[in-house]
Symmetry: C2
Subunit: 566 residues, 2 copies
């Protein structure tokens, strides 16, 4: 049997555009003599379509598009199409929709398999929209018995869920029902190391049931989520016949039968940092394109974060479409300006320089009567950051550029950033990249030639908002900070567990408290590209007006929720 | 049987504080000879505790607090306590927690009823954390058979859920199990008209099963949600024995038995606008208090929105704790300044005046080289709003005031507001209040004496960001706009349905497109107090990089996602 894996990049809500993509792949597959083309989960709506799924008119339009798929399949009756879409359940109870995989052939809907396991954790909200499948069944198609599942349906190993199990195993049921080929339609977002998990799942199912397994995954960026593709066919020897490209659309037709075997060389593992780089470039590029932006603007501070984001933007949009803005103050070092100019030159990115001190002085004068008798503090540092934010937004407004925020995860975590200042932007490109990974990415970019000036990599990080400031005046060393963050945020460790890892108690207490207290800033942050197992944003839902941790000292009302930043 | 309804205001995550409140109510109830004190749903964690529920150490601390409750009940054995808390399921499958009501008496856990129906729509995410109850059962206690349910368990009427039904009815099962008294522990947030729904549910259960029904609801503000209390006891004649106060803590002991009857006069309906006012005052006050703020600052533009928020802040925090800031530009009318000064005077609120033109001129000069040859446009209007935002944040930073954003729902919907400008603030007090309701509230406040100067109520709304500007240069009349918003947002109406209501097609298209295009602004908005059936924020989850509506013209990439605002 010849099967075409159509690993494509849908746009949320763009039913007609997604339909065109699906039908294009179908026609090409038919032209190549394929028996079946497989698209990814919820392809017609795009994943995740979120509350669009609650609009009856949206589901009406999905139904109209499915009718067009059916008609297309009538015109090319030798090739089937298996496509993901939301469908009405027709029941008076429950949410009223299924997350469905629909098999059409020769003008008929042959079979619909609904998703059994609806992820409703982290970034996933599927129980908000969908009812679970009532049953699973294998379907006869062109001499095979297809066992069709959807994404989470295959993720039943408790090790994938911190030891928690599902009470049903759809793949096991399909194996018992005599499936000769497993096909999984997925929308499984990238995070570091996940491609090994996905392949491991396919391997274990192929091995356990001696049945080949296909997985077609979505590719592309949709707001916070970046889907990495890497669709695959796994042979009964638990080695892949094929693994599709990462972070790119691809259509591949494979011949596969009940006894097909693969070989280890079909999967070429990549360096983790290369994946991370590609994920950020695709996430940034798709966010811009799907929002209708061609060009981006960002502030270049002379630091490594903005240098990295500038490189990512140049890669995603082309250097001609990126504008770097230098906004020196009296605390900016000459080195910072030179380094930024050199970076822009190396990348072929345009830059402009707008000194901020005249504006700052005007603010200082406006505020002088009210601030009389008060010492300078973090307020004055925030004003500088907010002037820069306003200047960048002015360029964005005047010229239609997408403003990119450049803060990293470590500073977002502890609030070492200014709300309405350096946090301004339509997308926070690296807000899920801890500072230690920022350095790794920069070294990766510089692996051939030094695109990022060496000085940017080696100098002590500084916000340059007061004389001789460095990040380490305010923060623990970044390797320590990132270790605590990973424990507290990604693994939900308690204070006691963090201390048992050998971190200094005072440092742990400070970091945990800083994370909890800065929820209000993150609530107003731009969407950021999720690349770790736990990102701030839709996958981490925390109250603001709260007392988060009883092990830390009780909040002092006087500094309980200031609006301070860098 | 004497039952004490303890309608209290917990703080999210403050387990020890919530425990103290619960034990205080328990001891007072015991002192009054009560047989049972009832607290609200998930009282120990506060509702909604969101992802705190995913932290094992948080559940450990809940367990420790429950042990303290048990010990307290041993000391006062004549009085039972029924309290809501998350408890571990002890099962390897599912999410691992139940939303539980725990009945303790004389040092023993007599009974635990888990919640059967887990709301997972709008602002509710309970399927993210909890597994549904395995069973429901009545429990014998002091001569009655208690039928205990939790919030949604009673909300089984399909009319409450757009016609969709649940497949189980916990109250019916408890009635069949011989319950002689229904007790519902709730955390049911306020929205206009909901108190009638809640009472209606109690009435229908009391009437259908000839069993009295008690409901104890949470009170207080937690971020976006305001819980209005209004706990109640319903007699078997479907009339209330008692309805507790709205928007205030109250403990009330009632004598209730299997045949208790109530009387209609026990429920005193209030004006809707009075409820709305109280909800906003409580939500604002609790947000400030629970975040540790005593004082608030806000900009006074001379318009009705900021005037209303100033009144709400003065009521919530006391006039001495509110600072109004006037920031006139060359486009500000003399009337606006006089009206704001008069408002502050009427309220007894301090005010200060900071003219923005010197700062604006400094920005204009800084941007002049880059903007050469370009005409003034919305960019320059946004700069004025962002200067004001920065000035207000500077006062917030320097003096520790909570900044209140003053935008209403109508402008948030269509993006008639400036990101990082007038959208700045820790709380967006009226961002779920449509402009037409803003006027209603203002008239309500002025019902005795004209606190808000009449001129503010009668003049044409204007952003005053360019000469002779009024809102109606850019927007449809507010009654039309609010009507379309209600249809599109609250009721998910299609374009066709909106047109069938008689709205002008061009206006509908413009409004719908403006709503869809401005998702990026709302994503970065401060939390706003939810008072309608569908608020922006956690209850409305929309993608940004998307094409939302196929009935409107396809998005023009050139203006597809600008960063424009007022």
């Amino acid at each position: 049997m010849k099967i075409t894996l159509a690993q494509l990049n849908p746009t949320i809500g763009d039913i007609q555009g997604n339909l065109r993509k699906a039908l294009g792949a179908f026609r090409r597959a038919a032209g190549a003599g394929s028996d079946l083309v497989v698209l990814s989960e919820l392809f017609l709506s795009g994943y995740p379509a979120r509350d669009l799924l609650e609009r009856p008119d949206f589901i009406d339009r999905i139904e109209a598009a499915l009718e067009q798929v059916r008609q297309a399949s009538a015109a090319l009756p030798q090739t089937g199409i298996l496509i993901g879409a939301p469908v009405r359940s027709g029941r008076a109870t429950g949410r009223g929709l299924y997350n469905a995989a629909l098999l059409m052939s020769a003008g008929r809907l042959l079979f619909a398999q609904h998703k059994s396991l609806l992820p409703n954790y982290d970034v996933f909200d599927e129980a908000r929209y969908f009812d679970p499948a009532e049953e699973v069944a294998a379907v006869a198609f062109k001499g095979e018995r297809l066992g069709i599942v959807i994404c989470e349906d295959s993720w039943t190993d408790p090790e994938l869920h911190r030891g928690r199990a599902y009470s049903v195993d759809p793949v096991a049921r399909l194996a018992a029902a005599g499936a000769t080929l497993f096909i999984n339609l997925s929308a499984s977002p990238y995070q570091a190391g996940k491609e090994e998990q996905r392949l491991g799942i396919l391997r274990s199912h192929a091995r356990a049931y001696r049945v080949p397994a296909i997985m077609v995954n979505q590719v592309g960026g949709n707001d916070e989520l970046v889907f990495d593709g890497r669709s695959a066919c796994m042979g009964v020897n638990a080695e892949p016949l094929a693994v599709l490209e990462a972070f790119r659309e691809q259509e591949l037709t494979v011949a596969i039968g009940a006894q097909s075997t693969g070989r280890a060389e079909a999967f070429i593992p990549r360096e983790g940092v290369a994946d991370l780089y590609d994920a950020l470039v695709l996430g940034l590029g798709d966010y811009a394109r799907k929002c209708g932006f061609q060009r981006a603007v960002l502030g270049l501070s002379g630091g490594i974060d903005s240098a990295l984001v500038c490189c990512l933007a140049a890669a995603a949009l082309g250097p001609d479409n990126v504008l770097g803005v230098l906004m020196p103050s009296r605390y900016s070092s000459a080195g910072s300006i030179d380094d930024s100019v050199a970076l822009a030159g190396n990348l072929g990115v345009a830059h402009t320089i707008i000194p901020i001190m005249p504006v700052y002085d005007a603010f200082a004068e406006a505020l002088a009567p009210g601030f009389k008798g008060r010492q300078p503090d973090i307020t004055e540092e925030n004003i500088q950051a907010r002037i820069r934010g306003t200047l960048l937004m002015s360029l964005s407004n005047k010229f239609g550029h997408l403003l990119l925020a450049t803060g990293n995860k470590s500073e977002m975590a502890v609030g070492y950033c200014t709300l309405y200042g350096d946090m301004c932007g339509g997308l926070a490109v690296i807000s899920d990249v801890p500072k230690t990974m920022v350095y790794e990415l920069a070294r990766f970019i510089n692996r051939g030639t030094a695109v990022i000036p060496e000085n940017i990599l080696t100098k002590a990080p500084s916000a340059e908002l007061r004389p001789d400031q460095t990040d380490q005046d305010s923060l623990p060393p970044y390797d320590v900070l990132d270790g605590i963050l990973e424990g507290y945020i990604d693994r939900a460790c308690s204070m006691r567990e963090l201390l048992s890892m050998g971190f200094d108690p005072e440092t742990v207490r400070w970091v945990v408290r800083a994370i909890d207290r800065n929820e209000y800033k993150r609530r107003q942050a731009a969407p950021g590209l999720k690349v770790t197992s736990k990102a701030f944003g839709m996958g981490r839902r925390m109250a603001i007006a709260a007392r988060y941790d009883q092990d830390t000292a009780p909040a002092d009302p006087a500094d309980g929720k200031d609006n301070n930043g860098t």
